[in-house]
């Protein structure tokens, strides 16, 4: 069973009320000669969307796999809901796996099952006493909650597009009403409209369901739009965890290049424009956008 901050074991139906659902301390991951993480520390606050960024090969996915217990770290400790992941077997039942949902990069849907049946897999695994009728209803409404048309529930993953597969994967991740949601590059490979919609969905779900979200991304728009805090992975550790504006003040070369590079500025402009649109009734003229963009460049 998961353990609360004051050391009390959480009941089966109780939500975690501690401050940090995920605590990573002194994490070392080594593959042969290559060290991916060295003394990495990270704490995720309850109820936040934590974005995790870093260049390719800095071990973002490895970090996620370490946290969910798929990749036993070389050294260090990982604690999820007060329960040590590093001291338990990958397949051991430690009472936290029904408290999280994981969306893998490609969706990782079971290809022989329909989307609806995919959603039912974790439900049947953990709560076999739910009646088939209710299972079907749950599968349907989770599918719709994840932004898919209802008809998708009866379709096989091979009949879905990439974006729909991600949403279906999200539906399965949400099947158990988790408190913690892991998203591995949810907007990668989506068109900008789809990506923006997915961002909105993540935010909405977080607010309605009271989720804590651990989100790996490359998408600057996602970072600006929905992340409460962003953890930057570089030099084999988390070099900073802060809000985006605060991070941009930092004097680390990689952070500077990442957030103040051309794409970073574009995302920032888009963010500012969005903010403007929210307060204005008239559409914004193109020249105004351009001026804003230039302003931004000078400022950087």
């Amino acid at each position: 069973m998961a353990i609360d901050d004051d050391g009390r074991e959480l009941g089966r139906h109780e939500r975690f009320r501690g401050e940090y659902p995920i605590v990573v301390e002194g994490l070392v991951n080594r593959f042969g000669e290559q060290t991916v993480h060295q003394d990495l520390d990270l704490k995720v606050r309850r109820g936040e969307i934590l974005g995790v960024v870093g260049g390719s090969g800095t071990g973002k996915s490895v970090l996620m796999r370490s946290i969910i217990g798929l990749q036993p770290p070389t050294e260090g400790s990982v604690t999820v809901f007060g329960k040590s992941m590093t001291d338990s077997d990958p397949d051991e039942n430690i009472g936290v796996r029904n408290r999280w949902g994981v969306l893998f990069q490609g969706g990782a849907l079971f290809s022989t099952l329909t989307v609806g049946e995919n959603v039912q897999v974790p439900l049947k695994q953990f709560y076999p006493d739910i009646s088939p009728a209710l299972l079907d209803e749950i599968a349907r409404f989770k599918t719709v909650l994840s932004g898919l048309p209802e008809a998708a529930a009866g379709k096989f993953p091979s009949e879905l597009s990439g974006g729909m597969k991600k949403r279906a994967g999200l539906a399965r991740a949400l099947a158990l009403d988790p408190e913690l949601l892991f998203l591995d590059e949810p907007t990668a490979g989506l068109d900008p409209i789809g990506a923006a919609a997915f961002d909105r969905l993540t935010r909405e779900l977080k607010e309605t369901l009271g989720l804590t979200v651990f989100l790996i991304t490359h998408d600057l728009d996602t970072l600006h739009e929905i992340c409460d805090r962003v953890a930057v992975l570089a030099d084999k550790k988390v070099i900073a965890v802060d809000t985006v504006p605060n991070l941009m003040q930092l004097d680390h070369p990689w952070i500077q290049e990442y957030f103040n590079g051309p794409r970073g500025r574009a995302a920032l402009t888009a963010q500012a424009l969005d903010e403007l649109r929210r307060h204005m009734d008239v559409p914004i003229a193109a020249h105004a956008v351009k001026a804003l963009d230039n302003d931004n460049k000078d400022g950087a």
Partner: protein, 370 residues
């Protein structure tokens, strides 16, 4: 606060029926009550959720569902419950979740019909594939510099050299079994010495090549199908085409050539090892000295037995490699197809080899190589 989901249906004086839900209404607790709640008889005018200690989307869904079915009103919702209920608005539906699964008496004939119907396109596909191979071979003969020697050598190693230990062990055991079983039967006629003829002729003519072909189908035919199938799925084959490399020339021809070239060698090697196995048994059980056994082989086995084996071997190699490559290149869609096609490659490969072997047997007897 109780740890179980509970409900209580009260009728107050005004004829109002209030259904009070209490306890945690969560995905983990709902299983205990959901069928009872579903079976509740109306009328219910109000669903009171103020007593809920915990609620999640599933609990909210059940409450909503109750309210809609009985046209009741939900009261006493906490802030969280209200938010969840609002989020669930408009998510109800009737769509089938599971894929349609037909009963057996419909499924089997339907599958049969599909098979028969697909047989024609299967035949077209195989003929088309053969044509593509012939065309690619023609191209390679005209432009020999395009031929991929490295790929061929690599496949020769995979199909031939690395198969030596397993083929050798298998043949040795087969030689032992034939010699031992043969000797037992022949002893009834006092003809144990004919064990030499039996082992020599049967391994060189039939078993050496046939068993090797089955082994190659299992080792290499399946590997061809799985490799090519995975490359189709990851779009590597398409990438090759766009770069101007013909997958037929680069992938299929080296594999088929490797199988054709290695099968006679492997078949001969298998027959040789099997004879050695027979000789070992001869030495241990029949009192025929090891070297005498091998000398007798030369006297009792006609040369054409060797040719029968060596002529069949490349044909078997061709069939096994064709089955592997054809099925590999037919993969499309999902990863399940790779497994399916790999199985089909092995099954059709072995089946075709045995059918062709039967034809060969008749043919060689007819031309006097019996």
């Amino acid at each position: 606060m109780s740890g179980f989901a509970q409900y209580d249906l009260r009728h107050d004086d005004g004829g109002e029926a209030v259904l009070a839900l209490s306890g945690p209404y969560l995905v983990s607790t709902i299983g205990a009550v959901d069928e009872e709640l579903f079976a509740l008889d109306g009328p219910i005018t109000t669903v009171d959720v103020s007593g809920l200690s915990e609620i999640d989307t599933v609990g909210a869904w059940v409450a909503c569902n109750l309210a809609t079915r009985h046209e009741a009103e939900i009261t006493g919702a906490s802030e969280r419950a209200e938010r969840l209920i609002a989020a669930l608005d408009g998510t109800a539906g009737e769509e089938k979740v599971a894929a349609e699964r037909l009963p057996v008496w419909e499924r089997v004939p339907a599958a049969m019909g599909t098979k028969v119907f697909n047989a024609r396109s299967g035949v077209y596909g195989v003929i088309g594939f053969l044509g593509a191979i012939v065309a690619a071979s023609g191209n390679l003969i005209r432009h020999p510099r395009r031929f991929r020697w490295l790929a061929l050598v690599r496949q020769l190693e995979l199909v031939g050299v690395s198969a030596l230990p397993i083929v050798g062990l298998m043949s040795f055991l087969i030689g032992i079994v034939i010699a031992q079983q043969g000797a037992v039967q022949l002893a009834q006629f006092g003809a144990e010495t004919l064990t030499v003829n039996l082992v020599g002729r049967i391994t060189l003519r039939e078993l050496g090549v046939l068993m090797t072909a089955i082994m190659v189908a299992g080792r290499s035919g399946s590997a061809f199908a799985a490799q090519l199938g995975t490359m189709r799925l990851t779009e590597e084959v398409d990438a090759m085409r766009t770069i101007g490399i013909s997958p037929m020339e680069a992938l299929v021809i080296p594999r088929i050539l490797a199988a054709i070239l290695m099968m006679p060698l492997l078949g001969f090697y298998a027959a040789g090892v099997a004879i050695v196995g027979g000789a070992v048994i001869g030495d241990l059980m029949l009192g025929i000295p090891f070297w005498s056994f091998l000398m007798r082989i030369q006297e009792v086995v006609p040369t054409y037995d060797l040719w029968v084996g060596l002529i069949k071997a490349p044909v078997f190699g061709l069939i096994v490699a064709l089955a592997g490559c054809y099925h590999g290149m037919q993969v499309k869609g999902d990863s399940e197809q790779v497994g399916l096609r790999t199985t089909m490659a092995v099954v059709t490969g072995i089946f075709a080899v045995i059918v062709i072997d039967a034809f060969f047997a008749v043919f060689f007897t007819e031309i006097g190589w019996g």
